[in-house]
Symmetry: C2
Subunit: 411 residues, 2 copies
């Protein structure tokens, strides 16, 4: 459960519940519900009552900040019939937190050290709001601050060890097969027979996302080893049907898969971006250690930059335009030469919402990959939505790179 009007009103993005869902699943606790309520004590109390009828564990995030719109702690006191008292350890931590940063501590900050008397105090070494663990009738309620890195550290170092001791959980195993270049319903047709014959304890889900479809297998049972085995068997059975679309498994992203291949080959990469505006470089550098193979990028939004820094000729820009096969090939080859990399990729297109013409409507995008041998290019016909076009172009150009390196490209 998350608490805060700002989530209901759509004013902030909640990333906490996704992370918590994934962590709980990985230790064999099955999330059955996710709830957001506003900054309203009665809604919080109602939600606590519903939880006690339905589940064994409730994790609450949010509403523990120092400012006056934060009600969680007072409401928990009411529900668990107790009152707040300053916790000395928490007070010490908060005091030193402010001392280290050379900042003055306010009375509001001091009150963050107060916790309900009948909870187990969870020390927060990463911020100023302590976590709280309540037990009642064999069920657990945990309250954590909403700041993502504080919540994650408290979960990892305080809550999960306690949960592992408290619950006797069933075994759950997941396996995700990651595909690119085929739509959900076509994939479904290809594997229909296999899907119909899955054993009852294994569930399949299709998760489409920006040109990719993840196939998620979930097995529930008594033993991790048995489940692991059952899932491996099913993966082996489905593989031959769809192998050309598979680029990875589980947490693999295109950018991490490509990074591993580059490291294996001791090869380097550079990028030249127009319509993606730096997003391809951002995806590549979001992988820790990417400096081992990524040299850099030229984001060439302006045609002068395409000419001066990437060496695209005036003739190409005049005759074919910046959104053309000729231009994107020259961009890829230009940045490869400039940065002296083994491989390079380039993007040029009409991201939208403006800039479209009858010949090159919004969503027209050229991508290219230059290698020590030849340069491959592709025309993409995407959507009317700028952020979607940026995401899809980045995905497809990374896949073009992957196939070019592995020489599995279909000409």
């Amino acid at each position: 459960m998350t608490i805060g009007d700002e989530i209901l009103f759509g004013q902030i993005t909640d990333t906490n519940t996704q992370w918590i869902g994934s962590e709980l699943t990985s230790i064999g606790i099955r999330p059955i519900r996710k709830l957001s309520v506003g900054d309203n004590p009665q809604d919080i109390l109602d939600a606590l009552g519903e939880f006690f009828k339905r589940a064994d564990l409730l994790i609450i995030t949010g509403g523990l900040g120092p400012t006056k719109d934060d009600l969680t702690k007072h409401t928990l006191c009411k529900y668990f019939d107790t009152e707040l008292a300053i916790n000395e350890d928490a007070l010490e931590l908060i005091t030193s937190f402010f001392e280290k940063r050379g900042r003055v501590m306010t009375e509001l900050n001091r009150q963050q050290a107060a916790v309900p008397l009948n909870c187990t105090y969870l020390r927060n070494d990463w911020g100023t709001a302590p976590g709280m663990w309540f037990e009642r009738d064999g069920k657990i309620v945990v309250s954590l601050p909403g700041v993502p890195h504080e919540m994650k550290n408290l979960m990892t170092y305080r809550v999960i060890p306690l949960l592992n001791g408290f619950f006797d959980t069933p075994a759950i195993q997941h396996k995700i097969i990651r595909t690119i270049g085929i739509g959900e319903s076509f994939l479904a047709e290809l594997i229909e027979n296999w899907e119909d014959n899955l054993p009852a304890h294994i569930k399949l889900a299709y998760l489409p996302h920006f040109g990719q479809v993840k196939l998620r297998l979930t097995a529930t049972g008594e033993s991790f080893e048995v489940l692991s085995n059952d899932i491996s068997e099913q993966v082996a059975a489905v593989m031959p049907l769809i192998s050309k679309y598979i680029f990875g498994y589980d947490g693999d992203e295109l950018e991490s898969v490509v990074g591993k291949i580059l490291i294996d080959q001791n090869a380097t990469l550079s990028t030249a971006e127009s319509c993606t505006g730096g997003f391809v470089a951002h995806k590549i550098t979001s992988i820790p250690g990417s400096s081992a193979y990524f040299l850099g990028s030229v984001v060439a939004y302006d045609n002068e930059v395409k000419k001066n820094t990437l060496g695209v000729s005036d003739e190409v820009l005049q005759e074919f335009g910046a959104v053309s096969e000729q231009a994107v090939v020259a961009m890829a080859e230009g940045v490869r030469k400039r940065m002296n990399s083994t491989y390079s990729i380039a993007t040029s297109g009409v991201a939208g919402p403006g800039g479209g013409t009858p010949e090159k409507p919004v969503g027209t995008v050229w991508i290219a990959c230059a290698t020590p041998g030849e340069t491959h290019s592709r025309l993409l016909k995407l959507t009317n939505h700028r952020p979607v076009n940026v995401e899809l172009t980045s995905t497809y150009v990374l896949d073009l790179l992957r196939k070019s390196i592995l020489q599995t490209i279909e000409i």
Copy 2:
């Protein structure tokens, strides 16, 4: 309500409910609860029952895809005691959708044209799954596909016009004051008296996010004009207390605020990025029309690129290192010269998790802004978290640019 195990298990990011919350709020409908349940008919039925006790409108997204894990439509039939029948208009749309793309239509795709007999069919011109509108006891249940752009178009062109006719909604007005460079609790101390004297029909919330704090005022009443006036009065009252921290209002982002200033000045911008790896350029180019002022970026991950493309000298890199004031200033001035832009910004730091030293631990970042006059630089001491450091650096360097242009920088 969103439906899908993948959301509970944390395998996809739900962005739909944030958008829906924001849209509903803007038309005067107050979201009171957000719920996610799994692919389980009983959980969906339970949630429908709870909704009917609590609210007047339920919007459901997800579970309408062509594959077998999608249960929403069948469960809605059960709840509303009806059955599915092919809708001819929907079938025609789906058929032409596949024809236009030159793809073969499958029986699974055909079944997407089936809708419950007693719902109002909502034509989906943007995909293959129709929307559905159910009425019972003066309450509304709407079911939409989970694909974000389909859901958004259906909401905008089908659902919201129907909602405006159906409900007699109270007036709600929001105003967001966006600040940077001050923590939540310090802001709270500065405006304590003002906050304590807010009238009862205006609520205040603090929304911290990556170095920024949004102050959200929400007024509820009978007339938009009165509320608008009440909020303007409060904004005018708080302004003098915190004006130096305010960079915008409502939907303003740093990158859009900076873009407007650059357009006003008929000025141009370039960027040179090391530790942010293209994210600053991505933020800038996420604004439609940014090609009017953004020329391009050099992402210089490798020191050779810093030297050859940005003109950072060997001496600076040898003596002070790539993460230094000297290097980041040379990067900013180098890219400004290369791209011939009015302004430029640069970043160089240790993003982590690796690469830290005792003198320059993870989170040490230098930023700079070069102008036609002088070049300003700042040292940031950030966190141990790579993505957080990338976000915070991008935010602070855009703010350094804003202050440099507006000449409100404190030396």
